[in-house]
């Protein structure tokens, strides 16, 4: 039996490094806003899955887009987005849910559908790791059982935390409102789940995401947009 799970997409930030003048979740990749790809994939994996988007910067634009294209997705508002970290948004989103488990997905992350399927239909706590590609990676240390036993900017190696976590909602609600990863330290070890992801922080990432996503669309013969 599947875990009772809902998804929080944290999309409150300024996206200043990308400098696109709009929330990163609305930046077009392959002709559609980034959040379109996330929500479409989630709906195709589980049409009933509950999703909450947390918005801050230009929240009316995010809400306007969802009203038009994904009206069943509510928006929690993080008015303190300039002074809080992603954990602040995650706690707000989780606060309106009732499921036992929460999957946290950053609004600037693309991952392929098979990986997302593993997150949605998996069991228990998991922490997402990917090959290091970002400029300021949160490195992860794994033990012999593929559990994450350490996280930090000073951890070397090939893997980084990609922002994905699957945790009991009760654990998430106890987070402080700053960055997520320091909140995770006291819950380690957590099972690692390796995913192929593209995080969009700057214009180079956007170019890379375009190529990456185009490849996935071709591979899946248009299923993304079906």
């Amino acid at each position: 039996m599947s875990d009772s799970l809902a998804v929080v997409i944290s999309a409150a930030g300024l996206g200043s490094r990308l400098d696109y003048g709009m929330p990163k979740c609305l930046v077009p990749v392959c002709g559609q806003p980034l959040i379109f790809w996330q929500l479409t994939a989630l709906r195709q994996i589980d049409p009933e899955i509950e999703v909450v988007v947390v918005a801050g910067f230009q929240s009316s634009r995010v809400a306007g887009y969802l009203r038009q294209f994904f009206p069943t997705v509510p928006v929690m508002l993080n008015h303190r987005f300039r002074s809080t970290g992603t954990a602040g948004s995650l706690v707000l989103g989780a606060g309106i849910l009732e499921t036992e488990w929460v999957l946290s997905l950053d609004g600037d992350l693309l991952l392929d559908r098979p990986s997302l399927n593993e997150w949605v239909n998996g069991h228990g706590a998991q922490l997402g790791v990917s090959p290091k590609t970002t400029r300021t990676p949160v490195g992860v240390a794994l033990d012999e059982n593929a559990a994450v036993v350490g996280m930090g900017f000073d951890i070397e190696g090939d893997l980084e935390w990609n922002g994905l976590i699957r945790l009991p909602r009760s654990v998430v609600l106890d987070f402080n409102d700053q960055h997520v990863f320091p909140n995770l330290l006291k819950h380690l070890p957590l099972p690692a789940l390796l995913s192929e992801t593209v995080e969009i922080d700057d214009p180079d990432d956007l170019d890379r995401a375009e190529v990456w996503l185009r490849g996935r669309i071709d591979e899946e013969r248009g299923r993304w947009t079906s």
Partner: protein, 208 residues
Amino acid sequence: MAPARVRRSEDAPTAYLFDFDGTLTREELLPRIAEQADVPEMADLTRRTVAGEIPFRESFRRRVEMLAEVPVDVVAAIVADVPVHERLMEWIVEHRDVCWVVTGNLDCWVGPWLDDWGLRSYTSKAVVRDGRATLLAGGILEKASVLSDFAGWRTVMVGDGANDAELVRDVDFGIATQLVHPAPEVLIECADCIVNDEETLCRILSRL
């Protein structure tokens, strides 16, 4: 850091407050009355009010004046036929002991509708003479003022307009709805949550 405002408290009952136009109804009431009662200048006034060119209180007073010649029972009949958000009304009727409608509309216009649904309310006040309404001095409802009646309650407000912003800001959990039109910026600035469809709204209300 759980968002305490979201969670139900065991110590305080929750009061659910609802705007009327565009929140419970599928159409804004005054333009509908203006159209059916043949007061064409109302549409322009409504447009300018929504655009923020005229303050709500001033706009409302002018709209009442425009409708002064329309018999109250004609207005009430138009209100009676206004389409509602049926799923939301079902939820409210199920929870009517803890629900209140908070509307700037005149008591004589919406009173029969509210009675039909068995709902308690806060409205603007008018005096009716010869079947016509005249706004009482100080009769325009200041929505935020209703909170003084809910000391000891946990409060939730649901609204869609700029004139709901203060109350949405002051309650424990404020919801901006976009069921009929996009929420105005001032409302979004004050709200905790934005909801776009009835079923989602009812689900969230049941958790608060």
